[in-house]
């Protein structure tokens, strides 16, 4: 069975660069503009009624999948264009890649209120809610796919690149026979990761309360929330069952076949191990209909595309570009940068004036909130490590356990934590400290799987001869953990934890402020502050909280995690 291995896309620069500063300023400006728009949102909004009838479930599932598909294709297009631009053009790359790094560190759900409210002012609210959900899923899917595509394109072996040049490939031919195939496998694995991230946010975004404004979209997420709200156990079970069914269906009918198909794009020249198999892919590739489709539709179509693009590129042959290493900035660079800087400065000015209206008490609250959320994130990560490391090592080093547990783990992991959250609330909200516990539980559920899969992969990668050596040396099990297992798994824990902590921060907005059974429950935390500020229409606080949250996450990533990652790369790599 193939293992997931999440690799965080971390930049090479350890510290902030002036470029980063400029980018952050730009982001602040956009955020400010969004908040301005949100001022004008209607005060009361009531969403459509969500039916709990089982007959509605297929439709709801279809709607949810539709949103996912729309967002996914948007993300794919974005990744291809953005990644390509950044990889082909060095100047563009120096701006685009750091920007992407900042974007992916920012907790996405904290933007939902702003996105949603600003969209409702310019669009009909139903459409705005749909669009906001799609934009939200898009922001959870696009970044890692883009990173993967960019990294693939920039790591194409030199000789393949030279072959494309010496055979005078046009840009389109180079893209379709070299660049895209080379990137395909990475793009696919990241797509799968993005897709599960998308479910997480969709479940949370289908019902969203902002004060008296109640946005609902018909879908599996809203079905589950409504069911939990009404404590309808039958509906909850059915909702989760259909969600799991949809996920398994997509896995078997879309992702597995794609994995089997993309195996031909691997670059290794050796026939290594067992190729990934998919019954559905096998069936398809043997089917008569598919053969006909290929011969009568696909081939003429690709010929038509090739021809069209050829005429478009008009016989221009790509020659390897010589990049002049002139250090002097040209006018073409100065003008857009200065326009951008002026706009950003204006944005900063307006943002600061808005932030200055905030009383000192609010800043204090914000500090406490950040600390509380940080504590929750830390606790959930620690709990996740406590159980995933032993279990992951057990699964990774023991074939029998792996065969037994892996399929179960994969299905359980596929259920988005946000779908289970309403159920969790139903059970825990009545107890003391209930929201606090369920908030940590939600973060844990969102974060633990990244860790578990990485630990499994790390444990499975421990070389056999090292394990034999520890046996021969008769090391005690404590010594074995200390000298072999922990160092070997450490890099994998770090990569898993980076992704996991991102997930946990994201969950805070959903987890700390809940409308349930007609009542509002809150606990201390920056997520709750964001939700409350949105509800009250306190846009200064909203802006401050979102900015503070984003900065803290970027800061922790750049200082703490990046350093650990370097350490892991340098000292504990098994190569």
């Amino acid at each position: 069975m193939r293992q997931f291995r999440f690799s965080p896309a971390l930049p090479k620069t350890p510290a902030f660069t002036p470029g980063d500063g400029l980018l952050l300023l730009g982001l602040v400006t956009i955020l400010y503009a969004g908040t301005r728009l949100a001022f004008n949102a209607p005060v009361v909004i009531a969403g459509p009624h969500i039916s709990l009838s089982p007959l509605a479930l297929p439709w709801y599932a279809l709607f949810s999948v539709g949103r996912m598909v729309a967002a996914y294709f948007l993300s794919l297009l974005f990744s291809l264009f953005y990644g390509y631009a950044a990889a082909r053009n060095r100047t563009a790359g120096t701006v685009l890649m750091p920007l992407l790094d900042v974007l992916q560190s920012v907790p996405i759900l904290s933007f939902l209120p702003v996105v949603l409210l600003s969209l409702t002012t310019i669009l009909p609210e139903g459409f705005a809610a749909e669009l906001a959900a799609i934009v939200l899923i898009f922001t959870s899917q696009a970044w890692n796919m883009t990173f993967s595509f960019y990294q693939s394109i920039t790591t194409i072996p030199n000789e393949l690149r030279e072959a494309a040049a010496i055979y005078r490939f046009s840009s389109w031919l180079r893209f379709s026979t070299l660049e895209l195939p080379f990137a395909a496998i990475g793009l696919l694995w990241n797509s799968m990761m993005s897709w599960s991230g998308g479910w997480f946010f969709l479940m949370a975004a289908e019902i969203f309360h902002v004060g008296a404004r109640d946005f609902r979209l018909p879908g599996l997420g809203s079905y589950l929330q409504t069911a939990a709200n009404e404590a309808n156990l039958r509906a909850i079970v059915m909702g989760i069952a259909s969600l799991v069914l949809v996920i398994i269906f997509l896995d078997q009918l879309v992702w597995r076949p794609l994995i089997a198909w993309t195996d031909k794009f691997k670059v290794e020249m050796t026939e290594g191990g067992e190729p990934p198999a998919s019954w559905f892919f096998g069936m398809l590739s043997r089917s008569w209909l598919v053969k006909q489709f290929r011969a009568r539709v696909r081939r003429p179509f690709s010929k038509w595309i090739d021809g069209g693009l050829r005429r478009l590129s008009n016989g221009k042959v790509a020659t390897p570009k010589v990049i002049p290493r002139s250090g002097r900035p040209s006018w073409t660079r100065i003008v857009p940068v200065s326009i951008f800087a002026v706009a950003a400065l204006y944005g900063i000015y307006r943002t600061v004036t808005l932030l200055l209206t905030l009383p000192a008490v609010a800043w204090g609250q914000l500090g406490i909130g950040l600390a509380a959320t940080l504590a929750r994130v830390t606790v959930s990560l620690l709990i996740a490590m406590l159980w995933t490391i032993p279990v992951g090592v057990l699964i990774g080093t023991n074939r029998r356990w792996a065969n037994l547990l892996q399929p179960v783990v994969q299905i359980v992991a596929a259920i988005p934590a946000t779908a289970l959250f309403p159920v969790l609330l139903l059970a825990l909200l009545q107890t003391a400290n209930g929201l606090n516990i369920s908030a940590i539980a939600l973060m844990l559920m969102g974060a633990q799987w990244y860790l578990l899969f990485n630990v499994i992969a790390g444990a499975a990668a421990i070389p056999q001869d090292l394990r034999h050596t520890t046996n021969l040396l008769r090391l005690s099990s404590w010594d074995r953990w200390r000298t072999l297992i922990m160092p070997a798994v450490f890099p994998y824990i770090v990569t898993g934890a980076i992704t996991a902590s991102g997930g946990a921060w994201n969950a805070s907005v959903v987890a700390e402020y809940v409308e349930f059974g007609g009542q509002t429950h809150t606990t201390y935390g920056v997520g709750a502050l964001i939700a409350q500020a949105t509800g009250r229409g306190d846009y200064a606080l909203l802006l401050a909280a979102t900015l503070a949250l984003a900065s803290v996450v970027v800061f922790i990533n750049r200082t703490f995690w990046l350093r650990l990652y370097r350490l892991a790369e340098e000292r504990y790599r098994m190569e």
């Binding site: 072959a163 040049a165 055979y167 005078r168 026979t177 691997k266 390897p320 290493r325």
Partner: protein, 433 residues
């Protein structure tokens, strides 16, 4: 075949005039190749040989227009070359096949890029695959084939372009010995029988016997900076045989030219960091390998033919030359007229015990300006402990991109000589008390 229309005055196909290739800017400028002049006539098969780092492959890429020259002129058929040379193609060392395309698609892609219509594309590709003897494998993927078969596809794809100038970048060095031999034979058959439209071949190789087997002329390059040091015509009749005495003489001649002569001590060692004058990069060699070479040389009474030494140690030129260079740097041996000569310290080292060797090495390594400078810096430090980054920054001006590697080698040699120690966790070099 193309009619020899341009016989009238000039049958030079390719001309490089004062070609220089440099990387980086001003202070950090690194000259990879200086003032190279080379011309290639129609009907000629030229081989480029030389130690690694002399810029053979770079020269090939300049000739095809893949890499631009920093200065000088590249003329093809008397015209200045602008961009990729449309009459040339390259066969790569690593084959550069597209792993996701079948054998047939890999050959067809060259024709597709040239806008050959699909039907003709398929026909020509099949014929080429047949020519290189791979019929039956049209629908196979490259990873299903052996190295030799993959390179045959590489050749078939290159032939699809019907190139006038065929450039070969160590095309046989990734193959096993027997496949390489077979493929060389097949290429020579095609070339000598003139059954391919190719009019000139330019091949880079580090295998001197291979060059003599195939080429009409061998161009020997030297390094620091890359330049041409010799032009040797090979007038042996085809088919050539390795065991012929004329062949052997030729091999010795080329080896002698490639190895060069040991220069004066001052020139060999270069100057210390921060001092004016040429700097020398340390060869990436393990000192144990040098010890092995010295012992072998001592068994031969201190003098041995360089070419035969390579054969006996089964070392390729690319592997042997850096070891010889290390020996020259440490003053253990000299190269003269294609022979290796063991020096007195070299003799002492070869006969010494393990512990005595450490001492000899420590003394010899300190001859090297870079290591002596590191040692001096460490000794004058109060804590006898200096960060690696400090040395890196100081050396960067002189060594540019090579600094990291230079430091690695210097640290390795210094450790082996027990001159200083290094802690990779803290990134510090220090003197052991």
């Amino acid at each position: 075949m193309t009619a020899p229309a341009s016989l009238n005055h000039d049958d030079n196909l390719l001309q490089l005039q004062n070609v220089t290739k440099a990387y980086g800017r001003e202070a950090k400028r690194f000259i990879a190749m200086r003032d190279v002049n080379l011309s290639l006539r129609r009907g000629e098969f030229v081989c480029l040989v030389g130690p690694s780092g002399c810029g053979k492959s770079t020269l090939l890429r300049i000739a095809t227009g893949l890499n631009p020259a920093t200065s000088g002129a590249v003329l093809y058929r008397g015209q200045a070359l602008n961009g990729v040379n449309p009459y040339a193609t390259i066969v790569f060392q690593t084959f550069a096949l597209f792993p996701w395309l079948t054998v047939q698609e890999n050959v067809e892609i060259a024709l597709k890029a040239r806008r050959v219509p699909p039907a003709e594309r398929t026909m020509r590709a099949l014929k080429l695959i047949d020519t290189v003897g791979l019929n039956g494998f049209e629908s196979a993927y490259p990873r299903e084939l052996s190295g030799g078969m993959r390179q045959k596809i590489g050749f078939a794809r290159a032939m699809a372009m019907e190139p006038e100038l065929l450039c070969l970048d160590e095309p046989f060095s990734a193959l096993d010995v027997l496949s390489a031999e077979a493929l060389r034979g097949e290429l020579m058959e095609l070339w000598l029988s003139k059954s391919i439209p190719t009019q000139a071949i330019l091949m880079v190789t580090h295998n001197i016997e291979e060059a003599i087997l195939m080429a009409d002329r061998i161009v020997v390059m030297g390094k620091n900076p890359g330049r041409i040091v010799a032009n040797i015509a090979v007038n042996l009749r085809h088919p050539r045989h390795r065991k012929d005495s004329a062949f052997q003489t030729m091999v010795d001649k080329v080896y002698t030219a490639v190895a060069g002569e040991t220069k004066s001590e001052k020139e060999t060692l270069g100057t210390a960091p921060g001092q004016p004058g040429e700097k020398r990069m340390l060869p990436d060699v393990r000192l144990e390998a040098l010890a092995g070479l010295l012992e072998r040389l001592s068994e031969e009474n201190g003098r041995f033919d360089l070419y035969r030494m390579g054969g006996e140690l089964t070392l390729e030129l690319d592997d042997l030359l850096p070891i010889v260079e290390a020996g020259e740097l440490l003053g253990f041996l000299t190269v003269h007229a294609g022979d290796l000569l063991l020096s007195t310290p070299g003799q002492a080292y070869a006969e010494a015990s393990i512990l005595a060797r450490k001492e000899i090495i420590a003394g010899r390594v300190l001859r090297l300006p870079v290591i002596a400078w590191i040692y001096k810096t460490l000794r004058s430090d109060d804590n006898k402990r200096v960060a690696r980054d400090y040395f890196y920054d100081k050396l960067q001006d002189d060594f540019g991109d090579l600094t990291e590697k230079l430091l690695d080698i210097a640290i390795r040699w210094g450790r082996q000589a027990e001159l200083f120690a290094y802690n990779s966790d803290t990134g510090e070099l220090f003197l052991e008390s």
